[in-house]
Amino acid sequence: MEVATAPASKAFGAPGEPASARQVMARPSRFGDKAFEWLTCAMALTVVVLVILTGWELWIGSVGAIKKFGFHFLVTSTWDPVADQFGALPFIYGTLVSSLIALLIAVPLGIATAAYLTELAPLWIRQPLVSLIEMLAAIPSVILGLWGIFVMIPWLRDYPFAWLKRFFGWTPLFSGSIYGPCMLAGGIIIAVMILPIIVSVSREILRSVPDLQREAAYGLGATRWEATRIAVLSYAKKGLFGAVILGLGRALGETMAVTMVIGNTPQIVASLFQPGYTLASVLANEFTEATTDIYLQALFEIGLVLFGITILVNLLAQLLLRTISTTSATRAVQ
């Protein structure tokens, strides 16, 4: 009621009669707010501009090849720099297939590991395991590639591959002779590389599931596995899908290690025991050799295709996520 009796001339919030904190406090400055707003806005814009510029540069670099080969670049399989013949299909195929193999291996392994770490593992073992998995992410790609060549491939060739050939050799996927470096080895090394990100993102997501959900399941007499399934994994479904997409993004662009073990032969064959080639690998291998303009432009176009695939995959993932949420929303409306 003091406000009502105060003289009309007095400004709102001006210091009152008794000496108060208000007399010594500075007026709130709006400058900081504005500066902060502009600064963060500029940072956010930089990211967007960088993405657009990258796409633009790739486009400029490859425009000659695009004009010359047109759509054929994407659907033909000949890669002959001497004859100026460039078709990217085997690389696109190699990138997609090796990433798919990597996901098939790393997703179940990664999510199971995350579930073990958050739901089942004894407390004392959790932190050491997490640190170990994070260390896996810190191994330089080239070291992993060397390990792939000298340790993983010989072992794969002698045991798992031989076993697969013996029992599944009749399917096209595991037919033909085993050389060592091949599409399957490439997929496996990518799986090793994307495993840490899938584990750590999934782990964060599972940890964010409210305990109330777990209690609801346990309260109904659920066992640990049942509670993990109905209360934790299904609650976290969407987030886990996000973790998989992050992993896929990495897998598509993975270069060094996969170049060292995939065999680097541009071909499209059903057998996973045959060598393959990825978009990222051909870029890494051939950029220094690109002597003619059209060769360089073709490589730029390879980069553009890889860029496009990565963006496309992310868009599709977001679309899929949206469809999932709208279906549940329509289910709610019906």
């Binding site: 109904l220 066992t223 609650y235 019906q334």
Partner: protein
């Protein structure tokens, strides 16, 4: 009719209690017991949460556990279906008998205990990825029931018992989270009724609800006691007075006083109980 009495804070405790809301339990012969807890102590790591609590819980009655925050009432409630074991590094001492069987015997599977002793939580927690119908029967599904006819019967029966059927019977395929807070809590009650437990534990079931939703839950508790034994933890003393037949007062991990609600609220033996009931602390 149901004895839900909405009281105002201005009324004194005794006025509230003198309403003939509860039958004079003390006059009855010794009631049948559901739980017999003897010298129960529970530690979380080094910290002792409850100390030597012995309490007998009567069948087909509502027992309320009251006390200030941190007095161990939730911990004791959870000891009745071994829910406290979900917290790592807990240790338990003493015995709890359910209809004469030792809940903590080495041969007893905690999952089986929790099927027999259902639980309702502070905040409603339906499974968000399941529909209303799926939420109700999830417990039966978990336990391997596949018979559609049986599942549908249990679905309707449980929702009717939880006084929710009429509100949701046309929306069984909507997500459980599409309901209001009070409806969600009744959905959780239906979910735990579906597996036909012997006891229902309620951990402050109304603390997140508005007065109207609270009144509905209290009404429901009163109806359910004909078939089930109910143990509830509550912060709200008026609520304990309204719904319970027996009241246990806990303080600093110990059971201070236990007896028929009318006696605890009108003529407590312990000074601490009286101080708490009359609002002098807590």
């Amino acid at each position: 009719m149901v004895n839900v009495v909405m009281t105002t804070p201005e009324q004194s405790v005794t006025e509230r209690i003198e309403r003939p809301a509860q039958p004079p339990v003390s006059a009855e012969p010794a009631p049948k017991l559901t739980f017999e807890a003897k010298n129960v102590s529970i530690w979380y790591g080094e910290k002792r949460a409850i100390e030597n609590v012995s309490l007998d819980i009567a069948s087909n009655a509502v027992t309320a556990i009251i006390g200030p925050s941190g007095c161990g009432k939730s911990t004791f409630l959870r000891a009745l279906n071994r829910m406290h074991e979900l917290v790592p590094k807990t240790r338990m001492d003493g015995t709890v008998l359910l209809h004469g069987e030792d809940l903590y015997s080495k041969t007893v599977d905690p999952a089986i205990v929790r099927r027999r002793v259902g639980m309702i939580f502070q905040k409603s927690n339906p499974f968000p990825t399941m529909t209303i119908g799926e939420n109700v029967i999830v417990g039966l599904r978990l336990n391997g029931v596949r018979n559609h006819k049986f599942l549908n019967e249990r679905l309707e029966k449980s929702l009717r018992m939880a006084a929710l059927w009429d509100e949701v019977k046309d929306d069984l395929h909507k997500p459980g989270t599409s309901l209001s807070g009070g409806q969600q809590q009744r959905l959780c009650i239906a979910r735990s009724l579906a597996v036909e437990p012997e006891v229902i534990l309620m951990d402050e079931p109304c603390s997140a609800l508005d007065p109207i939703a609270t009144a509905k839950i209290e009404e429901l508790i009163h109806e359910l006691k004909a078939k089930y034994t109910i143990v509830t933890v509550t912060h709200n003393m008026q609520q304990a007075g309204r719904i319970s037949d027996y009241t246990a007062f806990m303080y600093l991990g110990r059971l201070i006083e236990f007896g028929p609600t009318t006696k605890i609220f009108t003529n407590p033996t312990e000074k601490q109980t009286e101080d708490y009931i009359t609002g002098r602390f807590g």
